[in-house]
C-alpha cells in the first residue's frame, strides 16, 4: 500500500487547490471582517486621526490590536492549512487501502466466474456493484464507476455501471489514461465531483480488473470529502472565534497596561500645566519605588528647584526694586538741595564778577543735565526691574503730537527748522499718554537736532487696529547698521557732533522700552546725507498684538 506514492503526487492534477482554496476562503472571510472594520475607520477617520495624535493610550491599544490580528490570522491560516493537508493525506491513504481491497474482491469474483455471454456477465457485474462495491445507505461514503478500459478491443462489451448517479463523465480523462497506461497499479487523484448537486472535493482511485471474455475493465472509486469539509469548517469557525477573543484580550491587556503608565504621565502633564500657570505649590503624588514613582519624584524635584529659583529671582527683583527706590530717594534729596542752592546763585549771578557769573551758568546747565540723567537712569532701572506699568487712556494722538511739537518749537526755531504734522481724521488709541509723549518728544527733538535745519515731517495714520507715527528728517541720516544701534543704551553716533542739549544716549533706549510695554514697535531707518525716519507703531486696543504698520518705514517699502 505504501507502493503508490507516485500516483498520489505524480498523477494528482491539482491535489490541494480545493482545500487550500478553502483556506483562502477563510482568509477571505477574515479579510471581509477587516474590511468592515476598515469602513468604520473611514467613516470616523477624522476622529480616529485626532485621537491617534492625541492619545498615547489609544495608539498603543490600536497598534496592539492590529498586530495581534495579523499574528493570529497568520498563525490561524498556517495551522488550518496544516490540518487540511493532514486530513486530505489521511483520506487519500484510507481510500487507496479500501479501494485495493475492493478491487481485489472484484477480481476474485470475476476470476471464479464461468459465465461467458454478455447477458450473464452483465448480471454478475450488476450484482458485484450492488452487493460488494457499493455500500448501503442513502449517503454512501463512496461511489463506484465501472467502465470498459481504454485499450480494450474485445468484441464483448458490457454495460458501463455507476453508483449514486455518477458515470463516466465524473472521471477525468487524465485519470483514465493513467489507468490505461498501467492497469495493474492504483491511480489516485483528488478532484471536484458533483454529488447531489453540490461540488465537493473527492479522492478518485482507479485501477483495472480483468473480466473474462470482455477483457479489461476500469473500476473507479470516488470518495467525496464531505466529512472533512465539515470538520474544516468547524475548525475555521473555532479559529476565527478564538482569534477574535485573543485579539480583544490582547487589546484589553494593552489598555490596562498603558493605563497604568499613561495616567501618571497625564497627571504629570496636568500638574506641569498648573505649575506653568503659576501655581508653584503643585506637586505630583509619588508612591512606591517603580519607574512611575521615579517620574513623580524627579518631577517634584524639578518643581522644587524651579520654585526655589523663581523665589530667588523674585527676591532679587524685589531687592532691585527696593534699591532703585532707595537710590531714588537718597540721590534726590541732596540733588534737591543742590538744585535750590544753584538756582539762588544763578538768580543772583548779575551781582557777581564775570568769572563767577559764568560759573553759576555752567553749574545751572550741568545741574539740568544731571537731573535728566538721573531720571533717565531711574526710568531704565524701573524697566529692568519689571516695575514699569501702563496707565491706559483712550487718547487722540494728534493732540499728543501737537503738544510735543509745541514744546519743541523753541528748539526748532533755534535750529532754523520747521515741523510739519500730517494726519487725517482722528488717530485714537488706548495708550499711556505720558509714555507715548516721552517717546515722541525724544523722536522730535532728535529729528530737529540731527536735521541740519531742514524741515521735519510727522505723519500719523490709523488702520486695521494699529496706529503709526513716523518722524522724518532730512539731516545727517544714519549709516548702515546704525539703525539698530541707535536703541542701544548710551550709544551716540558721533559724540563729537555738535549738540545743543547735551543728550545722554538713553532717550531711544527708554523710548524702545516704552513702546514694548505697549506691545508696540519702534523702528529706525536712515541713509547718510538723506535723512532718517523713526516709526512708532502701537495697537489701538491695549494688549492686542501687531501684525503690520499703517505707514512705511523706508521710502521703498509698501506699508
Amino acid at each position: 500500500m505504501s507502493g503508490t506514492p507516485t500516483a498520489t503526487t505524480g498523477a494528482g492534477t491539482s491535489p490541494s487547490p480545493t482545500l487550500s482554496g478553502h483556506v483562502r476562503h477563510i482568509g477571505g472571510r477574515a479579510m471581509l471582517g477587516l474590511r468592515a472594520a476598515g469602513r468604520g475607520v473611514v467613516s470616523a477617520a477624522r476622529w480616529l486621526l485626532r485621537t491617534w495624535r492625541r492619545s498615547l493610550q489609544f495608539r498603543v491599544v490600536s497598534t496592539t490590536v492590529v498586530l495581534g490580528l495579523v499574528v493570529v490570522s497568520l498563525l490561524g491560516s498556517y495551522l488550518y492549512s496544516e490540518i487540511a493537508d493532514g486530513l486530505r493525506r489521511d483520506r487519500v491513504a484510507t481510500s487507496e487501502y479500501e479501494a485495493r481491497t475492493l478491487t481485489a474482491q472484484a477480481q476474485e469474483r470475476w476470476d471464479n466466474t464461468t459465465a461467458t455471454t454478455v447477458q450473464e456477465l452483465n448480471i454478475i457485474a450488476l450484482d458485484l456493484m450492488r452487493s460488494t462495491l457499493t455500500p448501503a445507505g442513502p449517503q454512501p461514503s463512496r461511489y463506484v464507476v465501472m467502465i470498459r478500459g481504454a485499450k480494450n478491443t474485445s468484441p464483448t462489451v458490457l454495460d458501463p455501471l455507476g453508483s449514486g448517479g455518477l458515470g463516466l463523465a465524473s472521471v477525468s480523462q487524465e485519470l483514465r489514461q493513467a489507468v490505461a497506461a498501467d492497469p495493474s497499479r492504483q491511480q489516485t487523484v483528488v478532484n471536484d465531483v458533483l454529488v447531489d448537486g453540490a461540488q465537493v472535493p473527492a479522492v478518485f482511485v482507479g485501477s483495472g480488473v480483468e473480466v473474462p471474455t470482455a477483457g479489461r475493465y476500469d473500476l473507479y472509486f470516488i470518495y467525496p470529502m464531505t466529512q472533512e469539509l465539515r470538520t474544516m469548517s468547524l475548525i475555521s469557525t473555532a479559529f476565527t472565534l478564538a482569534g477574535l477573543i485573543l485579539t480583544v484580550l490582547l487589546g484589553a491587556v494593552a489598555w490596562v497596561v498603558t493605563k497604568q503608565v499613561v495616567s501618571p504621565v497625564r497627571r504629570a502633564a496636568e500638574v506641569a500645566e498648573r505649575l506653568a500657570s503659576g501655581k508653584l505649590n503643585e506637586r505630583m503624588p509619588a508612591r512606591g519605588e517603580d519607574d512611575l514613582a521615579l517620574l513623580g519624584t524627579s518631577f517634584n524635584a524639578m518643581a522644587d528647584s524651579l520654585q526655589a529659583q523663581i523665589r530667588q529671582l523674585e527676591g532679587l527683583s524685589r531687592v532691585q526694586q527696593r534699591f532703585v527706590s532707595d537710590v531714588s530717594h537718597e540721590l534726590r534729596t541732596p540733588l534737591t538741595t543742590i538744585r535750590m542752592a544753584g538756582d539762588l546763585i544763578y538768580d543772583a549771578r548779575a551781582d557777581f564778577e564775570p568769572v563767577m557769573s559764568r560759573s553759576a551758568e555752567l553749574l545751572q546747565g550741568e545741574l539740568d543735565r544731571f537731573e535728566s540723567l538721573l531720571s533717565d537712569l531711574l526710568e531704565i532701572s524701573r524697566f529692568d526691574a519689571g516695575a514699569a506699568a501702563l496707565e491706559l487712556d483712550r487718547v487722540d494722538l494728534r493732540d499728543t503730537v501737537a503738544e510735543v511739537v509745541a514744546a519743541a518749537r523753541p528748539l526748532a526755531e533755534r535750529r532754523g527748522s520747521t515741523v510739519q504734522v500730517l494726519a487725517r481724521g482722528p488717530i485714537e488709541a488706548e495708550v499711556d499718554e505720558r509714555r507715548v509723549e516721552r517717546i515722541l518728544r525724544n523722536l522730535v527733538v532728535n529729528a530737529i537736532e540731527h536735521g541740519d535745519g531742514k524741515p521735519v515731517t510727522i505723519r500719523l495714520r490709523a488702520e486695521d487696529g494699529a496706529v503709526a507715527i513716523v518722524v522724518e528728517d532730512h539731516g545727517v541720516g544714519l549709516r548702515a547698521g546704525e539703525a539698530s544701534m541707535v536703541f542701544t543704551r548710551f550709544w551716540r553716533a558721533d559724540p563729537a557732533r555738535a549738540r545743543t542739549t547735551g543728550g545722554t544716549g538713553l532717550g531711544l533706549a527708554i523710548a524702545l522700552e516704552d513702546a514694548r510695554l505697549h506691545h508696540g514697535w519702534l523702528q529706525a531707518w536712515g541713509e547718510p546725507g538723506v535723512g532718517s525716519r523713526f516709526r512708532l507703531t502701537l495697537p489701538q486696543e491695549a494688549g492686542h498684538s501687531l501684525t503690520s504698520s499703517p505707514l512705511a518705514l523706508s521710502p521703498g517699502e509698501r506699508p
Binding site: 527706590s325 530717594h329 534726590r332 534729596t333 535750590m340 542752592a341 538756582d343 539762588l344
Partner: protein, 246 residues
Amino acid sequence: MDHWRSDSAPVCRVATEGGLTVKGRVLVVDDDLALSEMLGIVLRNEGLEVSHVADGSGALAAFRETRPDLVLLDVMLPGIDGLEVCRRIRAESGVPIVMLTARTDTIDVVVGLESGADDYVVKPFKPQELIARVRARLRRDNDAEPERLTIGDLAVDVAGHSVKRGEESLNLTPLEFDLLVALARKPWQVFTREVLLEQVWGYRHAGDTRLVNVHVQRLRSKIEKDPERPEIVVTVRGVGYRAGPA
C-alpha cells in the same frame, strides 16, 4: 470750621505778585537738615515764616505748638513715616499739607493723596515750582465781599468759610472748600480736571489729574448723602465735574 486759626498769633501778611495776600507760617517736616535749611532760606526769601522739625514723632507736637498755615511734609521720615503724620494732622486740622516725595510711582502718589495731602511736589524740584505750590495753597481772598452760594441742598458762606446743610455745619478743609466754591459759582459749567487744577490748585501748566480725582472723592464723602450716587458734585463722563441741580 477754622478753629485751629482762631487762637493763633497775629497773622503775617505778605503781598505777592498777583496782589493777593499770603499769610505765612510754614512748618517744614524733613529729616534732611541741609534740605530743610535750604527750604527755609527759599521760603523766608518769599517772606514766609518757617519752623522746622526733623522727625515724624515730633511733628505733631510741633504742629500743635506753631499752628502753621501750611505743612511741608517729607514722605520718608524716621520715627513715624510721613503718610502717618499726614493722617494724624488731618485728623485734627484742615491745614494745607504739601508732600515732598522722591517717587513718581502711581501707588506712592495716590497713597500720599489719600492720607490727606492737598498737593505734592516731586524731588528734585525747582524753587519756583515749590513756591508756586505753596502760594496756591496759602492764597485765600479773605477780604472778599460777603458772598452766599447754594449748591445742591448746601448753603455756602464764602467769606465766612462755612458750609451748612440746614442747621448742620460741615467740616471741610480749605482745599475742599475751594473746590466746592469753584463748582458752586458756575453751576451751569462743566469743569474739566485741567481747569480745576488751574483754578483750585494754581497749576499754570499741566498737573496731575489724579489730584482732582482723589479730592473730589474726599469732598463727596463729606457732603454727599450717598457718596456712591453723588448729587452735589456730579461726574460728567469723559469731561469732568459739574455742580448738581439744586
